[in-house]
């Protein structure tokens, strides 16, 4: 098989998996929504609506059709890129997502950056000093921080750092008058795009605490995974061969052990991104940030079926995308996987 064809085949296969995953996901959520007690038409019509009005709304929303018909209609629209319209906001779900998701993604990405920039150096240092005092300290810290409930930590830090000592803002995403012109909906990015440093700084003060809280649990996981992986690799034979060439420990660690340990870390970080999107809801509620978590929570609470479906599918798609990126990254990093997928290079 030619190189190009094997690339195509690779992506076709991955895409198939993604499509299958999204389909099952959508169907699952659809089913779930139908099981939820509560009448969408009633909610759309309002708490004081008369039975006639509710019936009218039911008909307009197409909720009078059988579940099967609704199911097919749902997918039919979806194939046209229409995630449906929210029954509470009357917005296309896609639009709602466009408003809420960037904020969550910002939180998650900043948290991931914090996560990696703490856990990777810590992992490297701990592995370099394995058995030593620093290693021990880091491990104890990882164990303790890893056991902290994120929402509780958020509450405590919010109280201490923000409410009590006023070092950081308490809630929200921007100070009044500091909002950059909306472009992506991500305050930090928008501030950068507008070239507004003050605004960027402002946005950063707002995001640092929520992101740090979100990062804590995950960075302990990465730290542990990296450390274990590094220790394994450092025990392996080829590291001894590198030492036998006269390499410094630094070179051994950064140049050889680290690249060889990165695979499990990559996989873990990939799954973490997905989990972080989910966990963001905890942090978002505490810090009163807008985001997909709050949006979904509302949608679920109001039985806003298309909003729930849309968000779940969208998050699913993002997670699938992340997985794909992780796959590709692994292929970039490891020539063996490359060879297994695409033949000799």
């Amino acid at each position: 098989m030619s190189r190009a064809r094997s690339y195509l085949w690779f992506f076709a296969k991955r895409l198939g998996t993604v499509v299958f995953a999204l389909w099952s996901l959508g169907s699952l959520v659809f089913l779930m929504i139908k099981v939820i007690p509560g009448d969408e038409a009633q909610i759309a019509a309002g708490p004081d609506a008369s039975p006639d009005q509710v019936a009218l709304v039911r008909q307009r929303l197409g909720l009078d059709a059988s579940v099967i018909v609704q199911y097919f209609r749902f997918w039919g629209r979806l194939l046209h890129g229409d995630l449906g319209t929210s029954i509470t906001t009357f917005q296309p779900v896609l639009l709602d997502l466009e408003r809420t998701l960037p904020s969550t993604l910002e939180l998650v990405v900043v948290a991931m950056l914090i996560n990696l920039s703490v856990s990777i150096p810590a992992g490297l240092i701990a592995a370099a000093r394995r058995g030593g005092r620093t290693d021990g300290l880091f491990r104890v810290l990882a164990v303790i921080l890893g056991g902290m409930p994120a929402f509780w930590l958020a509450l405590m830090l919010q109280y201490l750092l923000a409410a009590r000592y006023r070092l950081l803002p308490i809630s929200g995403q921007n100070s009044y008058g500091m909002e950059p012109p909306r472009w992506t909906g991500v305050p930090t990015l928008d501030a950068i795009a507008a070239g507004n440093m003050a605004s960027l700084l402002d946005a950063l003060t707002y995001i640092v605490l929520p992101a740090a809280v979100l990062a804590v649990l995950y960075s302990t996981q990465i730290f542990r995974a990296l450390r274990t992986s590094l220790l394994g690799v450092l025990e392996s034979d080829f590291i001894m061969a590198v030492r036998a060439k006269g390499a410094t420990e630094r070179r051994v660690l950064i140049g050889h052990a680290f690249p060889n340990s990165i695979n499990p870390v990559l996989t873990l970080a990939g799954t973490q991104l997905g989990a972080m999107i989910g966990a963001a809801v905890l942090v978002e509620t505490v810090f009163a940030r807008r985001g997909i978590g709050t949006y979904m929570f509302n949608a679920v609470a109001q039985k806003d079926m298309y909003a729930v479906l849309g968000s779940v599918l969208f998050i699913g798609a993002i997670v699938c995308l992340i997985n794909l990126v992780v796959d590709v990254l692994q292929i970039v990093v490891d020539p063996r996987i490359r060879a297994a997928q695409f033949g000799r290079s």
Partner: protein, 337 residues
């Protein structure tokens, strides 16, 4: 010392010349349960310039640990005694100086070439690394790498430099590992079972290559193996290790003709031969002791047919005996010659 004629035309020993490597009473220990266990237990030997010494022994006898101790590669173990290489005591060097010895004065080749190569780096990168560490420019290092692969008879060497280890066959990989060890122009090459993972025909080629290169470069070689056939074909001298110590040390001809230690004798008899039929193999009874359960006295006595009380109580030291060194209270008789 009685010398056999030197058939392979190796450089004759210069009398009075200091050996390249001399190891004196080397002990390597590891801590287990707050107790220190000697894995290598008082090994002394020396290697002259250009000499090839084979170190044989059963699995677990401490061959690899000895070899690594020479390079200070066993990080969790403690080595005592002295290892003087090229006039410097390895065990007293600073870490920085030691790094210069590794890959510089001493090169090392390992048993399983696959697991001793970084799977994520290209071959060229890995061969050149020895030089890059020493500040050689990338261009020069790569040129040198190419040169050395040519010397090792790797075909289409230039293309091979950009390939990854998994794309190589076993024999090729072993050549790469050899190249890695040789590129720093070492004086001593330590080869830890370099051919054990290879097929006989490839083994034959690699050995021939090693033979040729060591001869042309005047390299001293410490060759670790448990295949007595290889020893016979390659080495000038053979040292037999058992349970952490050297039990016999002599030139190959005398040793193979008339081993003085019962263990060496037993080993030689236990090997089936390709060149003759045999009905039944002589075997040594029992199994080699585990490092943590080495017997008192002579470590070999539980398996030895010649053992007597003294063997149980007193550990024999390596002593000079008819041009060889043997650690046995009751050595086998000298060959009638």
């Amino acid at each position: 010392m009685m010398m056999q004629p030197n058939p392979a035309g190796r450089p004759a020993p210069v009398p009075g010349e200091a050996p390249l490597l001399s190891v004196d009473n080397l002990c390597v220990s590891i801590r287990v349960d707050d107790r220190s266990v000697n894995i290598v237990d008082g090994v002394s030997f020396s290697i002259r310039r250009g000499e090839r010494v084979a170190l044989v022994g059963e699995s677990g006898s401490g061959k690899s640990v000895t070899a690594r101790a020479l390079m200070r590669l066993e990080r969790r173990m403690k080595a005592t005694g002295s290892i003087v290489c090229d006039g410097r005591d390895i065990l007293k060097l600073s870490d920085g100086e030691m790094r210069r010895v590794r890959g510089g004065t001493i090169g090392m080749v390992f048993q399983d070439p696959m697991s001793f190569l970084d799977p994520l780096r290209t071959i060229g990168d890995q061969i050149a690394e020895t030089l890059r560490i020493r500040g050689v420019s990338r261009r020069d290092a790569e040129r040198k790498a190419l040169h050395i692969l040519d010397e090792l008879k790797v075909e289409r060497a230039a293309e091979r430099l950009t390939a990854y280890p998994h794309e190589f066959s076993g024999g090729m990989r072993q050549r790469v590992v050899l190249a890695m060890a040789l590129i720093g122009d070492p004086r001593l090459l330590i080869a830890d079972e370099p051919t054990t993972a290879l097929d006989v025909r490839v083994q034959d080629q690699v050995l021939a290559l090693l033979d040729e290169i060591s001869r042309s470069r005047g390299l001293s070689v410490l060759f670790i193996t448990h295949d007595l056939g290889i020893v016979a074909g390659f080495a000038d001298r053979v040292m037999v290790m058992y349970a952490g110590s050297v039990v016999e040390d002599g030139d190959v001809y005398s040793t193979f003709a008339a081993p003085r230690h019962p263990y060496t004798r037993g080993l030689l008899d236990a090997v089936p031969r390709i060149d003759r039929d045999s009905d039944r193999l002589a075997s040594i009874r029992g199994t080699p002791p585990h490092v943590f359960a080495r017997p008192q006295g002579c470590p070999f006595h539980p398996r030895c047919d010649r053992a007597f009380e003294r063997c149980v109580i007193e550990r024999p030291v390596l002593r000079e005996l008819g041009g060889m060194r043997v650690a046995c209270h009751r050595p086998e008789p000298e060959a009638a010659r």
